[in-house]
């Protein structure tokens, strides 16, 4: 949706490449599922409130269900996809004034350098989740919510983000090396690097 029409995909890492397309399909399914999660959250919280105010019947489990699973899922699972779609804001002004190849190289290096950070998060939280699973940890209370599932959501979210950071980082480096910007997956809104700057500056 964001790449320029008429420039056919060339590399395996670039926009529309094999990797991009495959990950994109998984992410799209995920996104539709999360729309449902959003809707369920809205209905549950409203029903909990209305139930408490009008019928003296709150949905007691709502707070736990929302804070443990639904909210983290809706807010963090799309992180990788949002990176792909250029939705994570940044200061793009100076970047737009840089020579293209330098820009690709710096973004590529930055993303690759950040990958270990997000990988540590993924790895450590995944370990916690597997510990919780083997110890069968559950929240004490009316509903024994499993704790591993909560941690697994965070691990999955950070994992997906790490993969996208690596993938996009590599594509940017490819663009820097070959000098072909079409090889780079943009992290700017609308995949557009130049339009604003030419008019603004």
């Amino acid at each position: 949706m964001s790449e320029k029409q008429g420039s056919p995909p060339r590399g395996p890492f670039g926009p529309g490449g094999v990797l991009d397309t495959a990950v994109r399909q998984v992410e799209t399914v995920l996104l539709y599922l999360l729309c449902l999660v959003l809707f369920v959250m809205m209905v549950l919280i409203a029903a909990d409130a209305l139930g408490r105010y009008s019928m003296n019947r709150p949905l007691t489990f709502t707070v736990d269900l929302v804070t443990m699973y639904l909210l983290p899922a809706a807010m963090l699972l799309p992180a990788g996809l949002v990176l792909r779609r250029g939705g994570h804001i940044g200061v793009d002004l100076f970047a737009m004034m840089m020579p293209r190849r330098l820009y690709h190289a710096l973004i590529g290096l930055g993303l690759l350098a950040s990958a270990p950070i997000f990988w540590i998060m993924t790895h450590r939280i995944a370990l916690m989740a597997s510990d919780s699973l083997s110890q069968k940890l559950v929240a004490t209370g009316m509903v024994p919510w499993p704790i591993w599932a909560e941690q697994a959501i965070f691990a999955l979210a950070m994992g997906l983000f790490t993969l996208r950071a690596l993938h996009i980082g590599v594509s940017q480096l490819v663009a820097a090396v070959t000098g072909d910007s079409a090889q780079a997956i943009s992290i700017l809104p609308d995949g557009d690097t130049r339009e604003h700057s030419e008019e603004a500056v």
């Binding site: 408490r52 707070v63 919780s132 940890l137 209370g141």
Partner: protein, 320 residues
């Protein structure tokens, strides 16, 4: 002599009596006992991290000592701490403090089974006044009066206790409680009366009950075992002793403060507080017996010495 700087973190705000009567006492004592060899860098009010994260931060070595709300970990990493939430155990805070130390010191079941594997040791056991019930709408003079009340509680075993009593457990953050009591979307809170008074819930909750513990919250100051072992012996001794003095000061203060709060609330006519009769207590014990039984069964099934923990704890509470 080299001086040691220890980072101490708590989620409590600096004005909270948990800090003025506990953490601050520890800071002063440890600096004095070590002749200034120990210096404490203090991070109150979640400055060093959110309440539920503190345990991970102390394990990571980000802070040296963290005051950890037992409710945050009794559902997860340190399940044996759930013993504090078992109803009917602790009436006197100092008894609860002593009993906590009995299970938490090396050799005790909490230490051996929960703390040691997590690489933690407890420096101070700050046990808080037991939860009563402060109701807004209805006077409480019998156990049946609790039925159907929408009751805010701290979660964990207390949520089960509320359910077992026939009341409706509600989860709310503290700023939401006042409003909810006022609107009648909440009938009661399960809290100590000192807390009821501090938060001003007595404005809408005019009736209360006391004389039977619905569970006890705790804030334990924990240190990573590895960090502790790095300390010179004199410093270890100073930390241990300061920890004890702080918790003793805190428990004495809490006992008096809770009694004062109950007295003040009643004498000023702000609340009518009913003391459970012997029959009521027997009835509560019978109704709530399954809470501790289920808790023990579930943890034993996971290989945790819950029976021994409960036994040691109960014995120590009733000692003297």
């Amino acid at each position: 002599q080299d001086s040691v700087t220890l980072k101490l973190a708590t989620f409590l705000p600096p004005s909270h009596y948990g800090v003025t009567q506990g953490s601050q006492v520890f800071i002063d004592e440890v600096e004095e006992l070590s002749d200034g060899a120990v210096e404490i860098e203090f991070y109150p009010a979640e400055q060093a991290g959110k309440a539920r994260q503190l345990i991970d931060l102390v394990k990571a070595g980000a802070v040296d000592i963290a005051e950890i709300g037992t409710g945050y970990v009794s559902s997860g990493e340190l399940p044996l701490l759930g013993v504090l939430e078992v109803p009917g155990l602790v009436e006197d805070v100092c008894d609860g403090t002593r009993a906590s130390r009995a299970i938490g010191e090396p050799g005790g079941p909490l230490y051996e089974s929960d703390l040691k594997p997590a690489g933690l040791r407890v420096i101070s056991y700050y046990v808080y006044a037991p939860y009563g019930a402060a109701a807004s709408r209805r006077q409480i003079t019998s156990v049946e009066d609790l039925q159907g009340l929408k009751m805010r509680n701290a979660g964990g075993l207390m949520e089960l206790t509320v359910g077992e009593l026939g009341a409706v457990p509600v989860k709310l953050t503290s700023p939401e409680v006042t409003q909810s009591l006022q609107r009648g979307t909440l009938d009661a809170v399960m809290m100590s009366f000192a807390a009821v008074e501090t938060y001003g819930y007595d404005e809408f909750a005019h009736y209360g009950s006391t004389g039977y513990s619905m569970g006890t919250p705790g804030v334990f100051a924990m240190m990573s075992e590895a960090r502790y072992q790095q300390l010179p012996d004199e410093v270890k001794a100073a930390v241990d002793e300061a920890g004890k003095r702080a918790e003793e000061n805190f428990c004495r203060f809490s006992v008096e403060d809770e009694a004062r709060a109950i007295r003040d609330l009643q004498e000023s006519g702000r609340m009518e507080i009913y003391t459970w009769s012997e029959e009521d207590v027997a009835q509560l014990e019978e109704t709530l017996a399954s809470i501790s039984e289920d808790w023990v069964d579930q943890l034993e099934a996971r290989g945790k010495p819950a029976a021994e923990t409960l036994e040691t704890f109960t014995a120590e509470v009733n000692a003297e």
